[in-house]
């Protein structure tokens, strides 16, 4: 069976699926594309610096003060166009 074949290509599998199943796959793809458009999500790391965040279109606000000698004090605000809200999509 094609679905069990480890070497089967996605295209060959799509050919044998019915439209209802394809629609679910298409929806999942669409959602992923929308989220992938939010560039900063690809580049997020736990120790992302304010400069690195700014490089990905994030507006960076930095708090100064002795309590923030360690880099926990910066807050970043990306402008996201139409951020998908999965709470409403499932």
């Amino acid at each position: 069976m094609l679905l069990q074949d480890e070497n089967a290509t996605t295209d060959s599998i799509m050919e044998v699926l019915d439209d209802k199943v394809k629609a679910v796959i298409h929806n999942a793809q669409q959602f992923r594309r929308k989220v992938q458009a939010v560039d900063v999500l690809h580049h997020l790391t736990a120790d992302m610096t304010a400069e690195a965040a700014a490089a990905h279109g994030v507006t960076v606000l930095r708090s100064d003060g002795p309590a923030f000698a360690v880099p926990v004090g910066h807050v970043a605000m990306p402008k996201l166009e139409a951020l998908p809200t999965p709470k409403g999509n499932d």
């Binding site: 069976m1 679905l3 069990q4 996605t10 999500l41 605000m77 999965p86």
Partner: protein, 366 residues
């Protein structure tokens, strides 16, 4: 957090906790990893889960996101395994069609067949075996990860649904996944997980971040008037959700004089905190309250002050154990306690806790 669907506030603490999960999912050969995210209502727990989910989606990593566990248990009549697998299918269908081990598990969905609870449980078992096999063998098919994140918000419904064994059930059911459970009703669940080292506490914003967010026009917490900023900082203690709520209130009442707006904000916040304090006090035998609170708050266990914790009267502060969220919250509880405790005991309590709190956490002055 999102506001109007267009802004995502990235805070270092939330990013770090979200990335911890994402990194484990991306590393196919890593042992399974799971966390319970804990913190008072509105502190930003859901943002951790949402950020982890969106990052997994953006990077093409398999992830199941259940925004409210009650949906899961409402569906239990039709099969909770089936609900889980349906959500997994809807959210990951494009990855499933590409990935052989997922295709094998989801063949019924891919062939458009009706799936029963038994079929779903069988599929879930197949995924678990596959995750385990690939993790042990170190072989990652198609260069893709074999990790899968399971992010469940409002997870207190799980605790309520499975009295007495939630942590064990969760550990068993998702032992080969990477689960993140986020709960707003913590005490019982957290208490069972404290010893595992998998509890991730979300702390209130520090003074500097709090000041910054209230001043920055681009944030959902922006407050134009400096005097109102001081009030918001003082009454919310850096709980982000409360700050946003106060900022919204100010925006919606632009014609209010500053003094009146400040009074209304305090009254609103006092009402919320007071209700939580009343409910908590009502649930405690008087003697227990004395014994519990006359010891320093740092020695109080989370499940003893669950109602206060959930409502944001107290919170965990880094390296300080359980503490009042703000001097405003402390004053409300102590005022109510003055009716329960005698004056000498109240004085001792204030010496033990309130004084210590005020010294360690001076009120924010933006």
């Amino acid at each position: 957090m999102t506001k109007d669907g267009s802004t995502f506030l990235l805070l270092q603490q939330q990013v770090a906790q979200a990335m911890e999960l994402v990194d484990h999912v991306a590393n196919a050969n890593h042992h399974n990893f799971g966390v319970q995210v804990s913190g008072p209502h509105g502190i930003g727990k859901s943002a951790v889960g949402l950020l982890a989910y969106l990052t997994c989606v953006a990077r093409g990593l398999p992830a199941v996101y259940i925004p409210n566990a009650s949906l899961w248990f409402e569906a239990a009549g039709h099969g909770s395994g089936l609900f889980f697998m349906e959500v997994c299918w809807q959210q990951n269908a494009d990855l499933i069609v590409q990935q052989p081990y997922l295709r094998r598990a989801f063949w019924r969905w891919l062939t458009g067949q009706t799936v029963t609870e038994n079929g779903a449980i069988g599929a879930l078992r197949l995924i678990r075996h596959s995750l385990l096999h690939h993790r042990r063998s170190g072989v990652c098919p198609n260069g893709m990860t074999t990790g899968m994140a399971v992010i469940v918000d409002e997870a207190q419904h799980i605790t309520r649904a499975i009295e007495g064994g939630a942590a064990e059930w969760i550990t068993r059911a998702f032992q080969d996944f990477h689960p993140m459970f986020i709960a707003s009703d913590h005490a019982r669940m957290d208490a069972t997980m404290v010893g595992t080292g998998r509890l991730r506490l979300v702390y209130p914003l520090g003074d500097a971040d709090c000041r910054l967010l209230l001043r920055a026009r681009s944030t959902p917490t922006f407050v134009r008037e400096p005097r109102l900023r001081r009030v918001v900082a003082r009454i919310t203690g850096g709980v982000l959700g409360s700050m946003v709520s106060c900022a919204d209130f100010i925006v919606k009442h632009p014609m209010l004089p500053i003094a009146e707006a400040a009074d209304k904000l305090k009254k609103r916040q006092r009402g919320l905190l007071r209700a939580a304090c009343e409910a908590w006090l009502a649930s405690q035998p008087a003697l227990d309250v004395e014994v519990r609170l006359l010891s320093p708050f740092g020695r109080v266990r989370l499940n003893e002050v669950a109602g206060l914790y959930d409502a944001g009267v107290v919170c965990c502060r880094k390296g300080m154990g359980i503490h009042f969220t703000s001097s405003f919250a402390a004053s409300i509880l102590y005022r109510m306690l003055s009716d329960v405790l005698g004056e000498p005991q109240l004085r001792q309590l204030i010496r033990n806790d309130l004084y210590r709190f005020l010294v360690r956490s001076p009120p924010v002055e933006p």
